[in-house]
Subunit: 200 residues, 2 copies
């Protein structure tokens, strides 16, 4: 006999589809929501329901935004001569948190991954090339894709696409993470840290 | 400058209020929902929104249900002479999964925990006493609260409340978990397993 009421089974099912949430966590969350005030569940439902309706992509940098163009692209106090290219909107948030970057962004929305069927045409790379051609202010493109296989391949591909554009192409430094321990660093990171060493 | 669009910040905030979900997981889930089809987010929002409206408590056993009384309480094929008392609706689901129990249930909706300000009057204990007084079929009450401090205290309290009722009061067996390893069992579990030993 199926004892679980349908609305509960339905919510457990929907929550289980989220990444990193299995059936056990999903049912724990469901029963938590059931015990919590109806207002909390309503607020969560509303926030999820409005997400797609209220958030769009900036037509210039393809970051997520509520306004068009986005707050960075429309801000004339930012340095529009430097474009930082990242994989995901979350990466923009990470770089903004450093408070060290004053340039603008370009979000690729992914990375070249042939195994998962993602090619360059699925990313906003053509849009980046076009953007640089049309905006004469651009002097430097910082490629800030992740320092892994796919990120490196995407960086190489973009560098080739931009080789005729008159812009400097740079990559984020690779090296030991701050607070890390030399003893536990992997060989590749350590050799990158050696070759990228700087004078004190 | 706050770059995160308000609908995203709002959803991250709401998700962070769920147990076991921190700000990082909340933002990962938010961006996952943003990338996934609008239908998936809508289905999740609907499932959360309808939860409280469609699920109520059975007036007899206080388990969650869509119908009144619940499917177990209205089922005359179940053994109404045995009541299994559990802390939460999730415990009912766990016992049902064994397919070994044919009796009915009583859900306390918590456990006596003075440190958290939960007293016996916050639980469905008085309702259990009344239910047993009114239903002459009841012969046995299986106390299936968790085998920890609060669960044991609640079991003792209930046993005292029911000492004048003409029902047998039993407790789930304590012992080694099946598939467990004697070497790693704690002393209390092992001594319970010894004292509760049975003939082969």
């Amino acid at each position: 006999m199926q004892l679980t009421p349908a609305p509960i089974a339905r919510l457990i099912d929907e929550l289980s589809r989220l990444p990193g949430i299995g059936p056990k966590t999903a049912s724990r969350l469901t029963f938590y929501l059931l015990r919590s005030p109806v207002e909390q569940a309503a607020a969560l439902a509303k926030a999820i329901g409005q997400l797609h309706a209220e958030v769009t992509m900036c037509s210039k940098c393809f970051n997520i935004t509520e306004v068009e163009p986005c707050l960075v692209c429309r801000n004339e106090n930012r340095d529009h001569s430097i474009i930082c290219v990242v994989e995901e909107p979350l990466d923009v948030m990470a770089i903004e948190r450093t408070r060290d970057y004053q340039g603008v962004y370009h979000v690729l929305h992914g990375v070249i991954a042939p195994a998962e069927g993602v090619g360059p045409e699925d990313l906003k790379i053509a849009e980046l090339v076009q953007r640089i051609q049309q905006d004469s202010r651009v002097r430097e493109v910082i490629v800030a894709t992740n320092p892994n296989l796919e990120g490196e391949a995407t960086a190489m591909y973009m560098a080739r696409q931009l080789q005729n554009a008159k812009v400097k192409i740079t990559r984020l430094a690779r090296g030991l993470p701050v607070g890390g321990d030399l003893e536990y660093a992997d060989e590749i990171t350590l050799s990158r840290a050696l070759s990228g060493r700087s004078e004190i």
